[in-house]
């Protein structure tokens, strides 16, 4: 593969990284405030994607045909993000808050139960939508082309805008974590929940808000990803898995580590995609298994550095 081809692939990898980074940030946010790994993150995002798709294709387009499509689209997206926010807050207030002081495993199991519940609920609400689900249309279908010699660097506008949106949103979340009251609350809850609540931090509110924001972030990622895929129940499963792996790779103990992990994984996947066909066994090559290699590399990194690339070792009192 030549250089221009690799650059094109790199842009695609970054476009994959955009929703992944959002989902990973959401997972880490919940991990830091509720001390659990949220397995339902992907399903929350899938719910939002379902809502947007059905709302836009079955309602908005039919009832407001002569309205500006771009605005309709934005409205549908906003609805999806709000739905994600609401689902997040509901999960916290109904389920997680009640089992706040139980161990990690219990909370993990609750989120796993939620995955099953949403997996059954979504196709039931959006009846048989799974079979002929119209995907979310891309509104920027044309490509930007930059000529390099006799070849072109092709950049899909859709991908470009999702990269920009993700960057802006993640920056806003990081700034909010650093400078707002909510951010201070999250950081103090993350370091010690009981002490934080004694110091006057409304940890219940902070946790609920964090779940809501995580739900919204995940939903944004899900909607972004859904523009390039068909919407099914399994839409975000791979994203969810990669989000967790990115969080482990970057280290759960910081906020920026997992986001960097989320950028590393698609690039690793790209490298593996380019290199793995070169390994030949007999007359067949290993190009089919490029995802397996990425997983193996991540496992090796965990073996060498168990707390993650950017993780800090936290001393624990018994």
């Amino acid at each position: 593969m030549d250089l221009v081809g690799i650059i094109n692939r790199l842009i695609l990898a970054l476009a994959d990284a955009a929703p992944l980074a959002l989902v990973t940030l959401a997972i880490v946010l919940i991990f830091r405030t509720s001390f659990t790994t949220n397995f339902a993150q992907g399903m929350i995002a899938t719910s939002a994607a379902y809502t947007v798709t059905v709302f836009y294709n079955r309602y908005l387009v039919i009832h407001y045909p002569d309205f500006n499509i771009f605005l309709l689209m934005m409205f549908a997206f906003l609805t999806g993000i709000v739905v994600g926010f609401i689902i997040g807050v509901l999960i916290d207030t109904i389920l997680i808050r009640k089992s706040r002081y139980s161990n990690i495993l219990t909370k993990q199991m609750i989120t796993m139960g939620l995955v099953l519940f949403l997996m059954g609920l979504l196709p039931t609400i959006f009846f048989k939508a799974d079979l002929n689900m119209p995907s979310i249309p891309r509104f920027f279908t044309d490509n930007i082309k930059i000529a390099v010699g006799d070849k072109f660097i092709v950049m899909q506008q859709n991908n470009l805008y999702s990269i920009i949106t993700a960057t802006v949103v993640i920056s806003i979340v990081f700034i909010a974590l650093k400078y707002t009251k909510w951010g201070l609350g999250v950081r103090s809850t993350a370091s010690n929940e009981k002490v934080a609540s004694m110091m006057g931090v409304n940890t219940k509110m902070i946790t609920a808000l964090s779940w809501g924001i995580a739900g919204a972030l995940g939903s944004l990622g899900g909607i972004m990803y859904a523009t390039t895929q068909t919407v099914t129940v399994a839409l975000m499963t791979e994203m969810q898995v990669n989000g967790f792996l990115a969080a482990i790779l970057g280290g759960f103990s910081t906020f920026f580590g997992p986001v960097i992990g989320a950028i590393i994984i698609p690039i690793l996947s790209l490298i593996s995609y380019i290199l793995s066909p070169m390994i030949k066994i007999g007359d067949s090559d290993l190009g089919v298994y490029y995802k397996v290699f990425v997983y193996l590399i991540i496992l090796i990194v965990i073996l060498i550095k168990p707390i993650g690339l950017f993780g800090k070792k936290i001393a624990k009192k018994v």
Partner: protein
Amino acid sequence: MMQILKKQVQHTLHRAIEYVKKIAKHPFFPILVLGVFLILLQIIGSTGVIRPSLLNFISPVLIRFMVALGFMLLLGYAGLASLGTAGFMGLGSYLLGYLYQTVGMPAEVAFLVGIATALVLGILVGFISLRVEGMYLAIVTLGLGEILKNFFLNSPLTGGSNGMRLFDGIKMLGLFSKTSTVYNPIYYIIVVLMILSMVWILNIINSPTGRAMLSIKNSTSAAQAMGISIMKYRLSAFLIATLFAVTAGMLQMIRTTTSYPNSWGIDLSLNVLAAVVIGGTKNIWGVLIGTFIVFGLKDIVLSRIPFFQTYNNAHLMFSGILIILVVMFYPGGVVRLFSDLLSFFKKISAKLNQSWKEYRYGKDL
């Protein structure tokens, strides 16, 4: 003379009854009864008394019960969750199919190779993911499950999305299985292996190993301070769970002689978790009940209700709600329901007795 003989007979009879009572109290006795019952069911059923559709639903449930048993040791005793169960099952089934059909090994040898693979894989994945914290296991195995599914879908070795099929059937230990077999004799192997695994798990639970695992679950630091090697016990629990999952996958392949990548998705892993959690995470009989609730009820009861016929994914909702409810409000699971009901009735009857006495003899008594 007659009287002496009579006395002797009475004495022998008495001793025999005592002996039977002693056996009946043994913890393995119910397992034996279950095994004999299941085997008799097949022997009587295969003469044509019981419909094949009713008998055929039992063996998949038993296979999943084996998986759930391993998972119970992992979840209830070692305090870990794994989401790679379905991936491991799929690995077992494809491995057996590949070794039998393409490589041409005898089924028994392929079975042993599968067990060896399970052990190696379990040690690798468990060792890497358990080094930091217990919660990493769920994440790493979730990734592994997805990677394995991806592998089944794309690899030329597994037949891709068309799945793998043993066209000429499979012969194991003299029993022949084919897709079209009505009363599949592999059932006997499944029952025997299930009984063996129940006995094994019961032994582990009641041995120092089980106690050590429980202490780790309750407090990692305290267990460590008592000199219990956390890594060793967690790893062995994960190893057993993996072994059971792979074995069950191989049994599934022998039983159905087909394997499709889509049947090894995350929903199967979560359903196994649901079976263990709903039934009760510390009791093998609870797990049996839970497996029947999650996997059996779907085929027998829910498939008759029109709502679940039109929405064929809705049963997942059912087990999801049950997991959340049981985890939050009734951590003992369904199996605790029996002892709770029993103590409830005892309390009620004692109260009634008391009030009857008060009524009969006056309050001062």
